[in-house]
Amino acid sequence: MERFKDKEHLVRMAVLFLGAIGIFVVARALMVPKDFGTYGHYRGNALAEVASRPIAYAGRKACEDCHGDIVATRKASKHEKIACEACHGALAQHALSDDPGANKPPRPDAKTLCLVCHLENVAKPKGFPQVNPQDHGDGGPCATCHKPHHPEVS
């Protein structure tokens, strides 16, 4: 006794479905990157790609490895804790080059440099030393009295 009469209909459907599933599986294997899902629902290699960006700021340690004299000058001054590149700018090109002497950074412009931090502003914290350049030190250059690496007037 034939249980399913026209079973070739079912077989045809099943073959179609299997084919579609096969195509899906193959396409998915081809299209989804191998590293997708290493850590989660994203490309694992993306982390290394983001991390591979070259640095622009060398970091304080790189500066201090060579410029020990400046470290000594800054010792116990109010500016001791400030990283070098806060004033001197990004210097990885200088610090990481084979010939740092040839890649010397420009000297910061003292006329504007001090005021970046020390210009008077009501929104600054009360205890922070702030000046109005017009009525402080006769409007002369800051460096006459304050050496940037050791700003205390001696």
């Binding site: 850590y39 994203y42 694992g44 982390l47 960006r53 640095i55 304080r60 929104a123 914290p125």
Partner: protein, 254 residues
């Protein structure tokens, strides 16, 4: 009775197998893939940021350093970090006046006069590196994600530029990069912190108002900072799991 025993054995077997599978998966996760940066073990870090508003002088060093370090377009409106100035007229906490001229890139020209009874302060803003970040949850293609070491990153090769995440971030920390047309944001200087350096903004901050922190490092000063300061995250009601801790955060800050 027999049936019960059979059921019991069956379910126990299933549980044992599942636990085994889970522990295998967990081991794999803990082992991680060999990281590309030598000596950097992703599982030993959980990055965060501490910002001390009482120390911020609004100099804009962080904004400039960030743009230099990360090649962020110089036009206004493209910022991975920026500084806001809050001006709160006497007693009117509900209506703070907030401005951020060019994100603080050029500093803050004096706008308010002292002694008018107002409260004024600076608030540095950046990606809060949320551990339950809304921005990663809405990404339809898995192009943005929280890394196992706690940074929220964008895979610019996978990003479609659909802007869902830009709208989802409650802190306004994302933008579409005009060059790549993909989502862009603070990476917590992932290329620096994986090499043992601090972020560019922390490096450039002259007052130590910003401090990169590793919550998994028991020697990190963050633990003492969190213990000894009254800290708050931005928009705690959003339950974003923000890892940017503000000291001295005023209730008027949005």
């Amino acid at each position: 009775m027999n049936d019960d025993r059979r059921e019991f054995l069956k379910s126990t077997g299933i549980y044992i197998m599942l636990t085994g599978a889970a522990s295998l998966a967990w081991d794999h996760l803990l082992a991680g893939e060999p990281e590309k940066a030598p000596n950097y073990k992703m599982m030993n870090h959980w990055w965060a940021m501490a910002i001390d508003i009482e120390k911020c002088i609004g100099c804009g060093n962080c904004v400039r350093a960030c743009k230099t370090e990360n090649g962020v377009p110089l036009e206004p409106f493209f910022f991975r970090t920026w500084v806001e100035r809050y001006h709160i007229p006497e007693g009117d906490m509900e209506h703070p006046e907030v401005d951020s001229p060019n994100g603080g890139y050029d500093g803050f020209p004096e706008k308010y006069s002292p002694g008018d009874g107002s409260k004024n302060f600076f608030v540095p803003k950046m990606c809060n590196q949320c551990s339950h970040s809304p921005c990663t949850q809405v990404c339809p293609v898995g192009a943005t994600f929280e890394t196992p070491d706690g940074a929220v990153l964008v895979d610019s090769k996978y990003c479609l530029g659909c802007r869902y995440c830009v709208q989802a971030c409650p802190y306004g920390c994302r933008f579409i990069n005009p060059k790549t047309h993909t989502a862009d944001k603070c990476t917590l200087c992932y290329h620096r912190i994986t090499k043992g350096l601090t972020t560019a903004c922390c490096e450039a901050c002259p007052t130590g108002a910003r401090k990169l922190a590793d919550l998994k490092d028991p020697k990190d000063p963050i633990h003492e900072f969190l213990r000894t300061h009254k800290v708050q995250v931005l928009k705690p009601q959003m339950a974003t799991g923000s890892k940017t801790y503000y000291n001295g955060l005023d209730g008027s800050v949005r």
